[in-house]
Symmetry: C2
Subunit: 349 residues, 2 copies
């Protein structure tokens, strides 16, 4: 879908392809009478936790499978991806023009689907995770700066001697990635008295310069003065392995690393080595190279590591927020106005 | 000292009565040539941690004791209290007109000293703890809301299954005490998207109403709608036991309590019972009824309790900030202008 045009009077078949609360499907239905919302929880994965869009698949009977493929065949709009058969999603859905993903990041997901992006627009749920993820970043930084592990140790020892920690106030923190999550994180940190360094990708030739942020190629220069490095950037070919051994070595001793981006943006073995050697003060990791994190990973047993199993974006009201974005985009789609959060293959997000 | 008047040309003897970094004593000396700063670390307590103003006392030789008493006898201004002989501080210092305390809270300290407050002005270091304490409150709230204990448990079990927690964003938090610490806490919470309820003492007849805050007598009415209750109020006869069993019972189930005030503002046995019963979601306690917290206290072994041994105000740069307040007050004292943070016996802080 390269040209947006108003839908007019025709009906718009819409499939809900990943688990969603029925009450929120009603919210989608209420957007417009032209929408033909196809939703059958029986055919979808079974969510394993609140706001789970992956879930566990049940085998479908022949009849169920036929119904599911009929839905896919008719759908012009899809809420999220059909993860049951990623490789045949495009062939099963020849009428598909737009997929609204339920995740903020798309790079990895899109590799599994053979979508013709000249025919199908993909929009992300970028922004939905900004509040919970920026909160996780603040929680993780305070966990280390206020030395909560030290407090828990004192509690185990019933030791009431004074415990001196640092303040987050006055520290210098770089936030790599200046999308919704990074921007919200920077705003919160600044309000808490933190000196922030915003780090973005180098602008393309057709883009204006952004003097308020430094570019990723200059990160190594500021690394020695950082009390913490926060990663909120998308995973793209340009960002894979961006935080490499050289950069990690350049960080100020005692620096804290918080990764709420994707595991592959960081050289995980180099990170582990720096944590083991005591070069880094701590790491809070919401993501890993291999997920689930392998049971033999040294990260599990390192005392100065906080692990969040790709859960920092999880919040009880997350689906309601994703549906808010979807409904706004649905109105734009029906009116022929440009959609928000459109995936751009050039940028990779 | 009821009337402030300019000092004129006369020298002002000033004793440093609790441990302080020599570099910061130089900062005090640099304020004005009229100051005769008496500072001898040999005569003072030995600090046990950064910014410790209590310390451990060494026995003084007869000669040292004479020197110390000579200092006290001459002092017109004292930085902090002589804790070696609290009961005789007033008699030992007949010329004393002003004590600048190194702590934000004074109620308990002043009970130990027999000071004639019509002759001696006492100023607190109120404000110095606002940054570290408000940070501790945020850290503690995020610790429980983001369920860090649950993440640590999953880490011990090497369990990479999704972990759903709540957001601090959107929660409702009451902050009892609207001084420097409470106000800074409220500002931070609001920026993080928290709905705050400011709770202050009822105004005296001569004070204007403060419509932006509710008074402590109405706390029980709002209790059922609170996700967290944060205590930053001073301990006074009016606030002792303010958070009683009835109020604790009225709190919304799962409510989090954070106490950075004084242990005695809360009914500790009732708090323990509510934590044991699972009525409260957690408690972060920087203070206790008896400090050090007794080894047999059930608080040590309760999983939903974070204990900070009266340390939340501790920060590496704390003394520098206390000295900033002192220097500002010294300039006011020398000029005969009103001092900041003057202890008011009517209010009790």
């Amino acid at each position: 879908m390269t040209d947006a045009m108003p839908v007019g009077d025709r009906p718009v078949p819409l499939v809900v392809a990943s688990p969603l609360d029925p009450a929120l499907v009603d919210v989608i239905r209420a957007v417009d009478d032209r929408l033909e919302v196809m939703f059958d929880p029986e055919l979808l994965a079974v969510p394993q936790h609140a706001s789970d869009h992956l879930g566990v698949f049940r085998p479908l009977t022949r009849e169920q499978d036929a119904r599911w493929h009929d839905m896919l065949a008719r759908a012009e709009v899809s809420f999220d991806f059909d993860r049951r058969e990623p490789g045949s999603f495009a062939r099963s859905s020849p009428n598909l023009r737009w997929i609204q993903a339920a995740s903020a990041g798309l790079g990895q997901a899109l590799q599994q689907y053979e979508l013709d992006l000249s025919k199908v627009t993909v929009t992300s749920a970028a922004g939905v995770h900004a509040e919970p993820l920026s909160e996780f970043v603040i929680a993780a930084l305070l966990y280390f700066v206020k030395d909560i592990p030290g407090l828990l140790q004192k509690k185990r020892e019933r030791d009431w001697t004074r415990h001196t920690s640092r303040t987050l106030y006055g520290r210098r923190v770089a936030v790599v990635g200046t999308g919704a999550i990074g921007s919200r994180t920077i705003a919160k940190l600044q309000f808490l008295g933190v000196e922030t360094v915003a780090v973005g990708r180098p602008p393309r030739p057709d883009e204006p310069a952004r003097p308020e942020r430094i570019t990723t190629d200059r990160l190594v220069e500021v690394a020695p003065e950082l009390d913490a490095l926060v990663l909120t950037l998308p995973l793209t070919p340009a960002t894979e392995g961006l935080i490499d051994a050289e950069l990690i070595a350049a960080l100020r001793p005692g620096c804290i690393v918080v990764n709420v981006a994707r595991g592959k943006v960081i050289d995980e073995p180099a990170l582990i080595e720096a944590l083991q050697a005591g070069h880094l003060g701590g790491a809070a990791l919401d993501v890993a190279w291999h997920e689930p994190l392998l049971p033999e990973s040294p990260l599990w047993s390192l005392g100065n590591v906080l692990i969040s199993p790709h859960s920092a974006a999880m919040a009880a009201d997350q689906n309601a927020r994703i549906v808010e974005i979807f409904c706004d985009n649905l109105r734009r789609y029906l009116d022929g106005r440009p959609l928000r959060n459109v995936y751009d293959p050039r940028r990779g997000y």
